[in-house]
């Protein structure tokens, strides 16, 4: 572990910029902590924190001058690695025929993500499995991902809707980063404890003023992370969870949640692991030029499962069931991990405050009642 003083942190940004990276990090915008391009650490949400509960999000400023005392906001890193809209190819008419120009990711931006939380590292690892480790690899995702640098930040504050401890994804960043920082603010000191996760991270740190951490400073990190772990806003009992959901495919709870769910798809848009997409084919007015665009889609949309002759999932009940059972049951068989990292975004950004941890708990409870009763 190494110590980087607050005043030396700008050096990290400078090193990244010198390395050709576009630095993306948290910044206050439109009343939320969002991700945007950073040119200086002054743009970080210094002194800002957030208050998150089911169906509500707010930020507030205080005398506290810390840079990372908030949790995940409405954005996740997937908007950079798996853009919400992407042109897949363009085509033009050539007489009766047409010609296709595939969009090749020849010069993708080299991103450095600053302030990636442990849950988000887990989410990126999950999307890596989806887009890079199957029989086919998504060339656009792969190009962006391979060149990305990840500077993680350990969560020493946890949010009201966080449950990463339950999902085994936090609050400590375990792997998947180039560099991880832990922000420590005591009465008289403000510094970062840095750990390297890759040669790239090591190279970056070498360009920043730093020194070896002493025993007390190391202990400080452990203490802060332990406290965060224990203050987790929510929890989700994962004991035998896939089997539980498997057995409760016809649970009355699905109808209950369907009465509240607006099928608005917010949860899937803010989710850092949700990967569904659709394509749109368009032409210009003359018809001489056509394009195919990929855009985010959601299993909550009405035509998601449309087939010739009908629609497979016809109700909010079955769409919500698909979403939750995908996250907490089928994902495990598909990718060897839960599709949920406990970031809590779907709880915070649900307009009616539906809480995945509460729904899973309710199913566990009704299941017990049915079995015992």
């Amino acid at each position: 572990m190494f110590i980087v003083e607050l005043n030396d942190l700008q050096g990290l940004l400078t090193a990244l910029q010198a390395g050709g990276f576009t630095v993306i990090g948290p910044t206050v915008k439109d009343g939320a902590i969002t991700f945007d391009t950073l040119s200086s650490i002054e743009e970080l949400p210094r002194g800002w924190s957030d208050v998150q509960e089911a169906g509500s999000y707010g930020i507030r400023h205080s005398e506290d001058d810390t840079l990372f005392s908030y949790n995940v906001g409405p954005h996740s890193w997937k908007k950079f690695l798996f853009p919400a809209r992407l042109r897949l190819f363009s085509a033009r008419k050539a007489g009766k025929a047409f010609e296709v120009d595939p969009v090749s990711p020849s010069a993708p931006p080299k991103y450095a993500f600053l302030g990636v939380r442990s849950c988000e590292l887990a989410a990126i690892a999950i999307q890596d499995k989806i887009f890079m480790s199957g029989p086919y690899a998504d060339k656009h995702y792969t190009a962006l991902r391979k060149s990305a640098c990840i500077i993680a930040v350990n969560c020493v504050h946890v949010g009201g809707t966080c449950f990463c401890a339950s999902m085994g994804t936090g609050p400590r960043a375990k792997d998947g980063y180039d560099l991880v920082l832990t922000e420590i603010r005591t009465d008289d000191r403000h510094y970062f404890v840095a750990q390297m996760g890759s040669p790239l991270g090591k190279g970056l740190l070498q360009q920043v003023t730093h020194r070896e951490a002493d025993q007390k400073e190391r202990e400080q990190v452990e203490k802060a992370l332990k406290a965060a772990h224990d203050r987790m806003g929510r929890s989700l009992d994962t004991h035998n969870l896939p089997r539980l959901l498997e057995d409760n495919f016809e649970s009355p709870r699905w109808e209950d949640v369907a009465k509240r769910c607006l099928s608005c798809a917010n949860c899937t848009m803010v989710c850092p692991t949700c990967f569904c997409s659709t394509v749109e084919d368009v032409t210009d007015l003359s018809g001489e030029h056509a394009e195919r665009w990929r855009r985010w889609d959601s299993c909550f949309t009405t035509d998601f499962t449309k087939v010739a002759g009908g629609n497979i999932r016809m109700s909010t009940r079955t769409r919500y069931r698909q979403w939750l059972t995908h996250k907490l049951c089928n994902w495990v068989e598909q990718f060897g991990t839960y599709g949920c990292v406990g970031c809590g975004r779907c709880i915070t950004w649900c307009p009616v405050g539906i809480d995945i941890t509460a729904e899973a708990a309710a199913i566990r409870e009704t299941s017990m009642t049915t079995t015992n009763g």
Binding site: A308, G309, G310, N311
Partner: protein, 160 residues
């Protein structure tokens, strides 16, 4: 044809598989061997239902007569199957027509004769009903499947 030969033919028919010797004797009393040429009308919708057929070979189409439209053929029955149970159910009238679509051979059982024997001999009556109800169940299931119109790929099913 001799009754002995008839008994042998009947014994081989799946509908009567495993029927006891006594019940078979009871049944033979009502049986005759019949043959229908291609296109022959075997049953006319609305007529008194006085026959029950065990089909040996050929094929028979069941037809609903729809006023103003060409008659609709909704099912065929063939070797090993039976035709008609209206002889058992009041008011003993056919609810469909039946037309041979191939040269067809069958055993015809007289409905009234069968009804009388079923009334008189409860165990025989039960045996007939038990076998018939199994056929009815399968036919009902098949009819339900047809009702779904499963090959219609238009979403509403209203296209045709």
């Amino acid at each position: 044809m001799e009754k002995e030969d008839l008994s042998e033919i009947m014994r081989q028919h799946p509908f009567l598989a495993g029927l006891s010797f006594e019940h078979m004797q009871t049944l033979i009393g009502c049986a005759t061997n019949v043959r229908f040429a291609d296109n022959a009308t075997i049953i006319q919708e609305g007529q008194i239902a006085n026959k029950f057929y065990l089909i040996r070979s050929g094929r028979i189409a069941l037809q609903m007569d729809v006023p103003g439209k060409e008659s609709l053929r909704i099912q065929t029955v063939g070797p090993g199957e039976i035709l008609g149970w209206s002889w058992l159910i009041s008011p003993y009238r056919w609810h469909f027509s039946a037309i041979a679509v191939l040269d067809t051979r069958a055993i015809a059982l007289d409905g009234e004769c069968l009804r009388n024997k079923c009334e008189k001999e409860c165990s025989f009556g039960y045996e007939m009903l038990r076998r018939l109800s199994q056929v009815m169940e399968r036919r009902l299931e098949a009819t339900r499947l047809q009702l779904i119109d499963l090959y219609d790929l238009t979403t509403s099913g209203a296209k045709r």
